[in-house]
């Protein structure tokens, strides 16, 4: 083992550990995020020669996505995840009760999009990856990502606007009308 190799890996770990924890936490919850990140870096260590110097972040994200997919395929993991999703649902309900509706509404609109659109938007808006990195993560060309991302953003904005309008209509329907005193009719 070369000392320089260890030092370079430690720098890679330090640079991306935090981002990968956030990435994994979004997708599998805080409990399992550590396992995903650990497996991802273990693969990176074993295949250190394959990690591209200029796109290490994209390589790690792509690997983490596959680790998560493998995790979800396991029955045991799936069962545990099911319980975790249920737990998240409870948290969401609680949040809703606390009127944290804006975030839930936006996430609900995101969830209505096609999976491919969702993934593009999560990677760019939440994980902060650029077009080249997203292309590396998804295994497609940057040009294709640009086109798909443009469409995904537009679809998301349209759906969000539609959801806002629907809520306004709903508000007008159910909101009691308050008339100035003296104008009330019986």
């Amino acid at each position: 083992m070369e000392p320089d190799q260890v030092a370079r890996f430690e720098r890679l770990f330090a640079a991306h550990y935090g981002d990968l924890m956030r990435f994994a936490t979004r997708r599998v919850g805080a409990d399992a995020a550590g396992d995903v990140v650990s497996s991802t870096f273990l693969i990176a260590w074993r295949r250190f020669a394959d990690v591209p110097a200029g796109q290490s972040r994209a390589w790690l994200y792509g690997t983490a996505r596959r680790v998560i997919a493998n995790e979800l395929r396991g029955r045991e993991r799936r069962d545990r995840l099911g319980r975790r999703v249920a737990a998240h649902a409870e948290v969401a309900a609680e949040d809703h009760a606390r009127a944290v509706t804006e975030q839930l509404r936006v996430r609900a609109v995101l969830g209505e999009l096609a999976p491919g659109d969702q993934e593009l938007l999560r990677l760019t808006e939440w994980d902060g990856l650029d077009v080249d990195e997203v292309a590396a993560v998804l295994g497609c060309s940057p040009a294709a990502v640009k086109v798909r991302l443009h469409r995904a953003r537009r679809r998301f904005a349209n759906r969000l606007a539609a959801a806002d309008r629907a809520d306004e209509v709903h508000d007008r329907t159910v909101r009691p009308i308050t008339l100035p005193e003296g104008n009330a009719t019986s």
Partner: protein, 251 residues
């Protein structure tokens, strides 16, 4: 990007479910333990593109092996140090233990190795993991000794220490000692007297897919070991099997 889209994306960024999460610190104890544990693994193989493999079994032997292809593989007795060209070597130690060294990529058919292990009473079978689709039969492992374990660091904080963690791992498999490992093989010692009665130690190994330009270039890794009461005829590949605490089940 128009104003409407820009505003929508700004709202999306604000709706990030981990926006309130404290940034994970790569220097805190949890991260350092993770890093130490990773670096305690076998060192990476330089300059070789390898296929990604599943991380499935905990404990026991876990090494990577590089591609070193030798023509005319022969088994020779192994005494001390690293064997240079033998596919494998097996020796009976004086105390009943059986020491094995093997270059996975050179092993080919493990029948001869298994015959030697049987002759020395090792109660151990080495078995190559089948190609995807080639083996569709699951099997049970000894329920008293599940091959797959999950360790909750919250309940065992002392195991965050990599050295303690390795000690714990090995304490779970007293019938197998990994004495050394290198980039293209492994040496380990089997202690048959510590294998539970009625069980056989099964050591699966897997060779990664060859690169098209390198038909003989394979690499391999031992995932771990497991105790079985009935030795299976084959070991299903990762695409066909789910590894559970009860054994290997076909998907």
């Amino acid at each position: 990007m128009n104003t409407t889209t820009g505003a929508a994306l700004a709202r999306l960024r604000s709706a990030d479910p981990v926006s309130g999460m404290r940034a994970a610190d790569p220097d805190d104890a949890t991260a350092r333990a993770m890093l130490d544990q990773i670096l305690a693994e076998a060192p990476p193989v330089p300059g070789r593109r390898r296929t990604e493999r599943r991380l499935v079994l905990a404990g026991a032997v876990a090494v990577t092996a590089a591609a070193v292809v030798a023509a005319g593989v022969v088994a020779t007795p192994w005494s001390h140090g690293r064997p240079a060209s033998a596919a494998y070597a097996v020796t009976a130690d004086g105390d009943g233990a059986v020491s094995v060294t093997v270059h996975w990529d050179q092993l080919g058919d493990p029948a001869a190795l298994n015959a030697e292990l049987a002759r020395l009473g090792a109660r151990t079978v080495v078995m190559r993991v089948s190609a995807d689709g080639a083996c569709r039969t699951g099997f049970a492992t000894d329920p008293a000794h599940p091959p797959y374990r999950r360790i909750k660091f919250g309940e065992h904080p002392e195991l965050r220490d990599p050295a303690r963690f390795r000690e714990y791992e090995w304490s779970q498999t007293p019938w197998l000692d990994q004495t050394s490992r290198w980039t293209d093989g492994v040496a380990f010692t089997i202690r048959p007297d510590r294998i539970p009665a009625g069980d056989t130690l099964l050591i699966p190994y897997e060779l990664g897919a060859s690169q098209p330009a390198q038909p003989a270039g394979v690499d391999g890794a031992v995932r771990g070991s497991m105790l079985v009461q009935d030795v299976p005829a084959c070991f299903p590949g990762p695409a066909d099997a789910v590894y559970t605490t009860n054994g290997v089940e076909v998907r």
